[in-house]
Symmetry: C2
Subunit: 493 residues, 2 copies
């Protein structure tokens, strides 16, 4: 067996343990009773340690050295490059730290579920302190090894190639035009009359509706399913993608669009090339590219007039309410494009969303770089929310810094991906319209041409190319935020 | 760290991977779409191999040698003995064989789900051939090492201490009185008029009813849940026990009693001592003792007149049918004690059940010992069914040898546990009545005294003693099948 083949077999072995880890994580969120938490945390920590051990085996250095000398096809070279990237990422962090992070993260995340409901910052802070300390330690170790600042080293995990200075530039630009655009949109929508959903939308019917919409979006039910969890996410493995949502029986609109969003993530996973199954080169390119798929589904497809026409029809059917003006196309479109300054990121509209992301970015950047302490976060959050959206979160932790799941298990560096994803999605659309008529495809109910484009340009490409190269091959240029601004102005002005 | 402590840490590590394995297995049965099967099989095979590798690490021999020389408490000695037993069991089977069995078993079991529906013996036989061949290989290896016949070596996995000759004696005795007892019971019931359930019993309501019954049986919902699968089972881990059932919307009685049965398994798991959590000595004693709990719940508690009175009330409430004579106590009691010669083991009544088990025992004994071939099984099954219950299964594979899940993944040696369990359960009852009034406890709706007895005598004892010792401490004698016969005669004559 060549060194290259040994590496392939080794990374497929790692993948099997990651499969277990992914399913245990999904189960913990979707099924597990509270009393199962401790044993589950221990089992998942053990799996983490084992994957870390496999990912850092001493012989790998030798195998990589030899494999790089061997004659390889272009695809094999890409495969080798991605294995090596994962190896380098893994070897930086000591096993003990990985284990401590897994235990602290599980504990913090699990207790957060009730602490958030109870607005219990004091209780949360005790667990989170440890998570932050361990993440800083990780960032310091990674940064020193990679010659990056602490926070840049965390960014590198989710968005290889992205740096604080590029994000500072990008977000500084957004901050020059976004506030005015929000005000103008609010002004424009001032006279709109919207009929808000009220009454009971049973979980069962909402789920049935969600499944219909997933069919329209060609989710492959032979390779995945829909369940419920407190914080919606897309988990599982490419051959069995588990998406979740959270239903509110008083209102169906958030859960429904949430399903559209997670279906975007899911189709990316389901569309990854089988030929590289279980290998790093066969995985999603980055978190930003992942969000570009969910946000393409949600923002470019889901909130278009033609798609909302489907949602109108399907929701009338689901709730047996064909005369109810709530479900009228125009009304649903107004609901789904309504701009509102709110506390909650996951409930935020497309236009105010970047403000939420920029706030988190600035805080986590300073937190990881040691500029601020974790106990400073509530006050800084309050300050920045007042500045960006005019809202105070004083003593309102559950709707402030305790609202997101991300920081509970130390996923610092992830938040920027959301806005990068929105920007990429707008750029795909601008490129896609050159070769196909999106509105016609959506109206027809057969969205295949759109999915074909995404499959050809993004899904099937997995991690064969760098992010810049992937986006350039798909759209003819690297990230250009002008498309995002144009998209927002087109929809909201 | 002492060698004993090293062993403890090592077996707790193994337990974490077993936790993952248990949850993946539950998920495969309860949630997984068909398309997820291949990747899941591979992941589970990898986990099997890893557990096998951990269970057979060369240094263990040395650790056991040293630990046995060290001064240990009685409990530590028991813990060491059980670790050593698992080590010996594991070291017998080569890693390659374990992996091949896991892959062949997953494949056979997964395709069996549709093949059974389609009565497709030809298709099933192709996969099963491999499972049988690998099990024979395993039995041969184990037998040679342990100085046992092939089939005895398989029995030893599930029922340490039980042999073919003891089972032959036990079952030969049962065969002398069971047929006559069945005939007499049928004769006695001939004039009974039973109102059978008909109409639609929705899955939702059946599930709600099942949950009520689980509450009555004091299932701990903070440490477990109820779901659905084709073949009901009890899985998960002690801190998070996953039981499943299968609902038939035309009839609720089987699913309901199935839940009582699985709750018995679940409470044993939930009652295992926390002090030995994750260690072999903290696990259930044997499969027969496990079945003794589920069958105590099902046969000694569940089918008693006083418990059926609760089922009557709760099912009337669940289906909002307080006037319906189907749910009357007397009628439900007749349904739950009705004797009928049928094809399907899992649907069989208490009295004909041992006939199903003995049939399987005789076939798997001869199959593993190489006396018959896997292709002979349908004909022999037909022959034995005709002899024992007067029913032919000619060309009726789905209701014949393809009806059970057990053989699909090579669990040969397991079937006798069912009847051993029924015998133990009757023996506990005979002992329990000396110190407490079961009927009064059940009638009161607070079954705590019964569970306290089981907890003190069985659950909390885990694997601290051998099966014989456990049963003797609990009841004053080792297995005595006379209690079983007396119980059956008391109920059916
Ligand atoms: Zn997303
Ligand atoms: Zn059972």
């Amino acid at each position: 067996m060549s060194h290259y083949d040994q590496l392939i077999a080794h990374y497929q072995t790692i993948h099997h343990f990651n499969h277990a880890q992914a399913m245990l994580g999904w189960d913990a969120a979707a099924n597990m009773p509270a009393g199962g938490s401790e044993a589950r945390s221990n089992a998942m920590a053990e799996l983490s340690v084992h994957v870390h051990r496999l990912s850092t085996q001493p012989q790998l250095e030798d195998w990589f050295g030899h494999a790089e000398q061997a004659p390889l096809t272009t695809e094999q070279q890409a495969s080798l490059r991605e294995m090596k990237r994962q190896w380098q990422q893994a070897t930086l962090v000591p096993e003990k730290l990985v284990q401590a992070q897994s235990i602290a993260g599980s504990k913090c995340e699990h207790t957060w579920r009730t602490q958030r409901q109870e607005n219990d910052w004091k209780g949360f802070e005790k667990n989170w302190k440890e998570v932050v300390a361990l993440s800083r330690e990780e960032a310091k170790i990674r940064g020193e090894a990679l010659g990056l600042t602490a926070y840049d080293a965390m960014l590198d995990k989710f968005e290889p190639g992205t740096t604080t200075s590029s994000l500072d530039m990008l977000f500084t630009d957004v901050k020059t035009w976004l506030p005015e655009l929000i005000e103008k949109a609010l002004e424009k929508q001032r006279s709109d009359s919207i009929i808000l959903p009220s009454g009971t939308f049973s979980t069962d019917r909402q789920k049935a509706l969600g499944l219909e919409v997933m069919k329209l979006l060609q989710f492959d039910f032979n390779h995945g399913r829909l369940d419920q969890s407190v914080h919606p996410f897309c988990g599982g493995v490419p051959s069995d993608v588990r998406i979740t949502t959270r239903y509110d029986e008083k209102d169906f609109v958030q859960a429904l669009m949430g399903i559209v969003h997670e279906t975007g993530h899911a189709r990316y996973e389901q569309g990854l090339p089988k030929a590289f199954s279980g290998l790093p080169v066969g995985e999603a390119r980055s978190m930003g590219i992942h969000e570009s798929q969910s946000l393409f589904f949600e923002m470019q497809v889901g909130r278009s007039k033609s798609f909302i026409s489907h949602l109108s029809r399907l929701s009338m059917d689901a709730f047996n309410a064909h005369q109810d003006p709530v479900f009228a196309e125009e009304n649903l479109y107004k609901i789904y494009t309504q701009v509102e300054k709110g506390f909650i990121r996951v409930d935020a509209d497309e236009l105010t969303y970047p403000a939420h992301v920029i706030l988190r970015y600035e805080i986590e950047r300073d937190l990881i770089n040691g500029v601020i302490e974790h106990t400073d976060v509530p006050d800084i959050w309050d300050e920045k929310m007042k500045a960006s959206l005019g809202l105070s979160t004083q003593d309102n932790y559950k709707n402030g810094c305790m609202q997101d799941i991300h920081w509970t298990d130390g996923a610092f560096g992830y938040f920027p991906s959301y806005t990068l994803g929105a920007m990429y999605a707008a750029q795909y659309k601008a490129s896609m319209v050159k070769s196909l008529d999106l509105e016609v495809a959506i109206e027809s109910g057969d969205l295949s041409p759109i999915f074909q484009w995404l499959n050809d340009n993004i899904w099937s490409q997995a991690s064969l190319h760098s992010t810049d190269e992937l986006v350039k091959r798909a759209t003819g240029e690297t990230l250009n935020a002008a498309h995002f601004r144009k998209h927002l102005e087109g929809r909201y002005l």
